[in-house]
Amino acid sequence: MRGARSAKWVAGAIVIALAATACGGSDDDSGDDNDSGKAGGTFRMGITEPVAIDPYNAQESEGILVTDNLFTGLYEPTSDGEVVPALATSKEVSSDGKTWTFKIKAGTKFSNGEPVNAEAFIRGWSRVAQKSAASDVAYHMAGIAGFDDVQAGKADTLSGLSAPDENTLQVKLSAPDFEFDIKTSHTVFSPVPEAAGDAKNKTYNEAPIGNGPFKMQGKWEHNKSITLVRNDDYGLTKAQLDTVQIDILNANNGVTLEYQGFESGQYDWARMPTPQLPTAKAKYEPQDEWIQQDTNGMNYLLPITDNGPMKDQKAREAVSYAIDRDAIIKGVFQGMYTKSTTILPPVFQDVYQKDLCTSCIKQDKAKAKQLASEAGLEPGSTLELAYNTGSGHEEWIQAVQQQLEDVLGVKVTATGKPFAELLEDQQKSGATGLYRYAWGADYPTPDNYLFPLLDTASINKDSSGNVTGDNRSRYSNKAFDDLVAQARASNDPAARNELYKQAEKVAMDDMALIPLWNRTQLRLANTKEFANIEMDFHENPNLAEISQK
């Protein structure tokens, strides 16, 4: 399993997202929001141009915002790291973990009248896997039997999918997976009508016909707008809003525009530029329009562990000790972030092990120096620190650079590169030093961090020794791999979580990644006109539940 819900924030993390106090405090406000709202109204917001809004390739927060409201699948993630049933009325897994059977709510329809049945799911999932789709999210289907044939163009339908009856979907997997139900909460597992055609059907790509709480009004006006209207034939609890007006903004200053738009009353939901946070918080928190919430994302420094100055665990620990996270958070991030002391995000409450990373808790110059000298990271030596430009990382990178230079006496070369170049650098055999890195899960399970980021299988070197997987720190530890494998083979959620916690500790002790700070999202929401506004798992407003006051 590869993967991350590769939201734009991952590259654009700092501008867009600011982690905050990991208190999930906004949940406390929900009591106020339970005013019984009335139907109607137009909800206005801004996003940046999505890659796709068709479930075959919807991938980042923005695309998922639209797809998630146009389509309803088997399960849905909740904002606090759980999954709940949507169209699935029951699930069943075989003891070997290779066969899943889902019952689907009968009688619901797509907005063009076609029935939403097991066939619709088989159609949707197979469509994603087809070679011609070249889908960036097709890897989610990789565990389903027959995936390779469909990818190779030998078959059109995933052979592992079948419909014993109209409303029963049976899924055969090529390897055991006791968390497959959780994975179906991703929008890539949406059903599609026959009208969808194949993945390259432009008409459908631009105006998908779905079975969700909303439907498209007109088509996707690229770089301009997307308009959603309520689907009055929705099979589950109907939405209240009449219309959702989504402006598509320039990625460069979209955040600023959203904020300014909220301030001038043009938007009902907005992100804020980092610099404005203190002002915005002071102004909007008392008015109950301030949303602050932990989400599933982490910011790290990625050390190259098989080569160069970061090969030694002690060198990595020295770097970790040398960074004054508190000072950076206070100085650069206006105190809106909280520092990380784990690899897994605190939003996964069941597995969260606060302060697992002892070197992360407080800057310790003496320890840093000592460890560095033990590791042979001598003053005067050079350390590469690479990051991608144009995403607002410049400032904190400069701060980290200076702290490392001050404490360790090393020369840190901070190099900003366009992302493609940075990625190629990371992948190259012979890469050394430190890279900026961030990760978010596709679905709420620890596996979605630990396996792709740290499992030996995820290094996946090609013939010339370049890494093609997401484990670009090249961390490889058999003990860790074994623990993850055991967890994956367990059908008991509690036992599974325990194994994941142990695996995380192994990786943390090895300093396989250097945690920096958590991801907490801050939003402004127009609670004066709308009731029940919350941030969902994808960091979007819960459009289907919002109502007019």
Binding site: A327, G331, T389, Q398
Partner: protein, 307 residues
């Protein structure tokens, strides 16, 4: 691409009639410069412009003495301080002293402004002179090449070069130079063509002066004046272009104390910490104005009838 007029695209100084005025026989050249100087200093605004630029250059040279702090020194305990006693113009998001960054920023402005125009002038003068003297296929090849470079809008061309070379002072200098030489080459060429036909050149030929002597002593000095003047007034354009590139995130490295970077960093603070972008903006405006005034002064001094 425009041979139908001499100097389409060049400033009014390239106007053939202006050239006739400005280009007297080379014996009179000393007094020509004296005239230019005299007219220049008689123009109060031009002197103000010159003063601004002299101040800018002095600031750049003596930046280490003038700046109260190290422009790169971070103080995470004192970020985003409003202007006040400790930091006269406040601090940025990393607690760096804004005044010091502003002062050091003048170095980048001066270096990039002068160096890029130097690059452009060097290429432009050599190629323009070759095209103007030799004519025929040399002229054709050089001028068609100039057309290609001229066809790139400056910022767009510069962005392409920076994409290739990465951010930094050198790429910015080169990219701005490489996409400005065509203008100078064209200007010089048209000047040479018009000077070449002037009476005193014919006179020199009639007196049996050698070709190289005519070029050295008569044509080049008389053709270069307006090219150099135009080059001077373009320094300001280069500085603004450089700041714009940094603002767009394709200029010098972001940690460098540079005005465009400062505005870019301050942009998000609009409304909350306006001091962050207003001071560097003022610095750019004053610098640009200085060069505009200087350029106008030089132009008027060179060609007084345009006043």
């Amino acid at each position: 691409m425009t041979e139908l007029v001499t100097g389409t695209g060049e400033p009014t100084a390239a106007d053939p009639t202006a050239a006739k005025q400005g280009a007297e026989p080379s014996v009179a050249r000393v007094s020509q410069w004296a005239d230019i100087r005299h007219r220049f200093f008689a123009n109060k605004l031009a002197v103000v412009g010159l003063a601004i630029i002299v101040l800018l250059i002095l600031t750049a040279v003596f930046a280490p003495l003038l700046a109260p702090h190290d422009p790169l020194r971070q103080d995470l305990n004192a970020t985003l301080q409003s202007p006040g006693s400790g930091h006269l113009l406040g601090t940025d998001a990393l607690g760096r002293d804004q005044l010091s960054r502003l002062i050091y920023g003048s170095r980048i402005a001066v270096i990039v402004g002068l160096a890029s125009i130097f690059v452009a002038l060097s290429i432009g003068i050599v190629l323009g002179a070759l095209a103007g003297y030799f004519g025929r296929w040399v002229d054709t090849v050089i001028m068609r090449t100039a057309d290609i470079f001229f066809a790139f809008p400056l910022l767009i061309g510069a962005i392409v070069i920076i994409l290739l070379m990465g951010r930094g002072v050198l790429p910015v200098v080169l990219s701005l130079g490489v996409f400005q030489w065509a203008t100078f080459a064209r200007l010089l060429r048209s000047q040479i063509l018009s000077v070449r036909e002037m009476d005193f050149v014919h006179a020199a030929q009639a007196l049996g002066a050698s070709r190289s002597r005519i070029i050295r002593k008569h044509i080049l000095p008389n053709s270069l004046t307006s090219v150099l003047v135009y080059g001077t007034s373009n320094v300001g354009i280069a500085i603004v272009a450089e700041a714009s590139l940094s603002y767009l995130g394709v200029g010098v490295d972001p940690e460098v104390a540079e005005w465009g970077n400062m505005i870019s960093a301050g942009r998000g603070f609009m409304g909350a910490k306006d001091f962050m972008w207003t001071y560097p903006s003022i610095a750019i405006v004053i610098t640009a104005l200085g060069f505009v005034l200087l350029g106008n002064g030089l132009r008027d001094a060179l060609d007084p009838k345009l006043r």
